[in-house]
């Protein structure tokens, strides 16, 4: 039986373990802000990372293009059928937009929850040990990215910014298991149905929308958007489509499963939405309570 450790090594190991446990507990406490050394490491490593990710994106982009060319005929047929419909919708949209603006001017309300200015960014890496669904993008504080901003692709909302350094920022995806990641959403229609996205069903690959008033009739196939009422995300970002409706654990409110519109798998280009109206800090659905607490004190 060989001796595992000599005395000197044992002491070294114990000291190492103590230091590391202390570091773990220290860094676990405050993960929203990075300390200066962390910021420097993140930016420097992030720079190196971009050198590897950008060629990789170029490669996958080229493969996608080849794949796209192979399907061109089928797609073209399908798109032609939709084109007429699209033109009329487009005309209607322009009309409504103008109308909306006019009415807005009349009542003197210029700011809308809907307004945001996009910051385009490239995804440079994904957390390799995928316990947390996090990606890192190549835009940071310098380009105007701030904590809690919404992040989306052209097909829909994918997450929010959870950590910002000068040149890079970390984005937590909607498919996270983090219970504190809530999004205030709405199913638009004659009567708007409000609810909160809370949690993600890994096996189904679908988001869970909770706290829907049981008086409302939610149907499968309805579109779900962000409502902008949580104070963090702009209004009207597409989130997904209702696939199944059931009641929640207590039977008081309804619960809906939502198939996300955006694909969380292969992310390359994303947009960070800088909300034009006031952004409050915190999490959707939790902000109000916090603010009240602050006012009271």
């Amino acid at each position: 039986m060989p001796r595992f450790f000599s005395n000197k090594r044992l002491i070294l190991l114990l000291v190492g373990v103590i230091v590391l446990v202390a570091l773990i507990s220290f860094t676990l406490k405050d993960r929203q802000n990075a300390t200066l050394p962390e910021q420097i490491v993140k930016d420097v490593v992030g720079f190196g990372q971009s050198l590897f990710s950008k060629p990789a994106h170029f490669l996958t982009g080229t493969l996608d293009k080849i794949d796209g060319i192979l399907n061109t005929y089928e797609e073209n047929k399908h798109l032609k059928a939709r084109l007429k419909e699209y033109a009329s919708t487009q005309a209607e949209l322009a009309d409504l937009r103008a109308d909306n603006e006019k009415l807005r001017q009349i009542i003197g309300k210029e700011e809308s929850l809907r307004d945001y200015s996009p910051i385009h960014a490239t995804v440079i890496s994904r957390n390799p040990d995928q316990w947390e669904e996090k990606i890192i993008i190549d835009k940071g504080e310098v380009e105007g990215v701030k904590l809690n901003m919404a992040v989306m692709t052209s097909s829909g909302l994918i997450g929010k910014v959870v950590l910002v350094t000068p040149f890079r920022s970390t984005v937590e995806l909607l498919s996270t298991e983090n219970r504190n990641f809530r999004v205030a959403v709405v199913i638009p229609g004659k009567e708007s149905i409000f609810g909160l996205i809370e949690g993600y069903d890994r096996t189904r690959g679908e988001l869970i929308m909770k706290r829907i008033d049981s008086d409302f009739d939610v149907k499968e196939g309805q579109l779900v958007q962000s409502s902008g009422l949580g104070g963090i995300f702009p209004k009207g970002l597409v989130i997904g489509e209702v696939t199944e409706v059931s009641t929640d654990d207590f039977g008081l409110t309804k619960l809906a499963y939502i198939r996300p519109a955006a694909d969380f798998g292969m992310l390359d280009h994303v947009m960070v939405a800088k909300r034009s109206s006031v952004i409050v800090s915190g999490t959707d659905g939790e902000v109000a309570e916090e603010e009240e607490g602050e006012d009271g004190s």
Partner: protein, 172 residues
């Protein structure tokens, strides 16, 4: 020359890991499988076995620290796990013949060990809520398959390279 290539490859693998994880999770027949690339640890195990344990542990601490600061935001997890895995690998390889296939097999066992340890850590601090069985099916087995492809493709190359460095060092 090879002197600089050895740490350089470790850094390249470190940067390649998050690029490959962009492809994950993979959806097959409506269920999701997570593939975790563990390239760095495979390389470190090869260094530990064929070259020098001390070197492997130092690289492990440095790369683990960078990994923690850049990806995990909890400093100390991989800074601890990487060197420990390298240490255990050298203890185990002493008991068996140092054939290339045994080293490849050993590195796969070590990947599994690393995954299980990181699972326990993640469930300890409530980063994940999946059960052990689901972890085995949706995470560990696809990870092992993906990494065994990597090991079988590059294992021989790593051995050749590290052997060359060993020869160079003794030659001097």
């Amino acid at each position: 020359m090879i002197r600089f290539i050895i740490p350089l490859i470790a850094v390249v693998l470190f940067f390649l890991e998050p690029v490959f994880s962009l492809f994950s999770p993979v959806t097959i027949a409506d269920s999701q499988y997570t593939l975790v690339p563990r390239f760095v640890i495979v390389y470190l195990i090869f260094i530990a076995v064929y070259y020098s344990r001390q070197r492997a542990i130092i690289y492990g601490i440095v790369l683990g620290l960078l990994y923690d600061m850049y990806h995990i935001d909890i400093i100390g997890v991989y800074t601890f796990l990487y060197p420990v895995i390298c240490y255990l690998a050298t203890l185990m390889i002493r008991q068996v013949h140092r054939h290339i296939f045994t080293v490849m097999f050993l590195s796969l066992i070590m990947i599994a060990l690393l995954e299980i340890l990181s699972y326990f850590f993640a469930s300890l601090i409530a980063l994940t809520a999946i059960g052990f069985e689901e972890f085995l099916v949706s995470r560990l087995s696809p990870t092992m398959i993906a990494n065994s492809i990597f090991v079988s493709m590059f294992g021989y190359f790593f051995k050749q390279l590290i052997d060359k460095r060993g020869l160079e060092k003794t030659g001097l």
